[in-house]
């Protein structure tokens, strides 16, 4: 008796045939265009993992700022150094994106904005608000206003 192969209609009862039927797969990541909502979603995951990795540095900075008046001054100086300020802006964006996208997901949980158009618009809002606030924060810390 020949071995059972997936898709072999004679070898298995109907229910098995359905299970073993090769599913259509299309996972060419270069050809799939991710909708903006999907982009917001993957950025939520990326920003979360970046924040997790940065936790020790952030806690150390917080500890330093509360240690002594000298520590507070030192933390303030550190935040003005480009080598630290630029990653900090990145982290500020990560926090803001995670925050805004998180609120969007909470609203989706409450069945608010589930339709295609609403979901697309809220994804645009997440990107605009998080990037806008990051720019504002960076401008403030760089002393633009």
């Amino acid at each position: 008796m020949p071995a059972f192969r997936p898709g072999d209609r004679m070898a298995a009862p109907r229910s098995k045939q359905l299970i073993n039927k090769p599913r259509p797969k299309f996972l060419d990541l270069t050809a799939i265009r991710l909708p903006l909502a999907g982009f917001v979603s993957i950025l939520h995951r990326i920003s979360g993992s970046v924040l997790f990795l940065a936790l020790p540095a952030l806690i150390a900075m917080f500890a330093l700022s509360l240690e002594s008046p000298e520590g507070f001054e030192r933390a303030r100086q550190l935040m003005r150094q480009p080598m630290i300020a630029i990653p900090l802006f990145g982290l500020a964006w990560a926090y803001l994106h995670h925050f805004c996208a998180g609120i969007r997901f909470l609203l989706l949980d409450l069945h608010i904005g589930l339709d295609k158009q609403g979901a697309h618009q809220s994804a645009i809002a997440v990107m605009a608000v998080s990037l806008g606030l990051t720019t504002l924060l960076a401008a403030k810390l760089l002393g633009v206003f």
């Binding site: 936790l55 700022s65 002594s68 909470l106 949980d109």
Partner: protein, 113 residues
């Protein structure tokens, strides 16, 4: 057979992830208001702000929520991308240990104030 690693408690984690998120979001908004009111303009103000009972309490809660929230989030990432059980178990363990350490560190910072 039961798998060694994973979330066997789906719904409760799902809800914890949202509760901790809402708590941290509220804390964040309060902090933004405090910063706009100038708590970070001098060491004296900064220290006095975090030394006050309610802020200390809320900051402690924020740190605990953050660690729990990060645990669920990072664990989900490992579960999605890392398949071999031993690698996954190692990464899960390192994540838990790191987050427990961070929680202790935050407690120590607040304790000394």
């Amino acid at each position: 057979m039961r798998t060694t690693t994973g979330a066997h408690y789906g719904l409760s984690d799902w809800i914890v992830q949202r509760i901790t998120a809402v708590a941290m979001a509220i804390y964040t908004l309060v902090m933004v208001v405090a910063l706009l009111c100038g708590v970070a303009t001098s060491y004296e103000r900064w220290h006095a702000f975090f030394s006050s009972g309610p802020v200390q309490f809320a900051t402690f809660l924020f740190a605990m929520c953050l660690c729990y929230h990060a645990w669920i989030g990072i664990r989900d990432i490992w579960m999605d991308y890392v398949k071999p059980v031993w690698v996954r178990l190692t990464l899960h363990s390192l994540t838990v240990l790191a987050l427990l350490g961070y929680a202790g560190w935050c407690l120590e910072i607040l304790w000394r104030l």
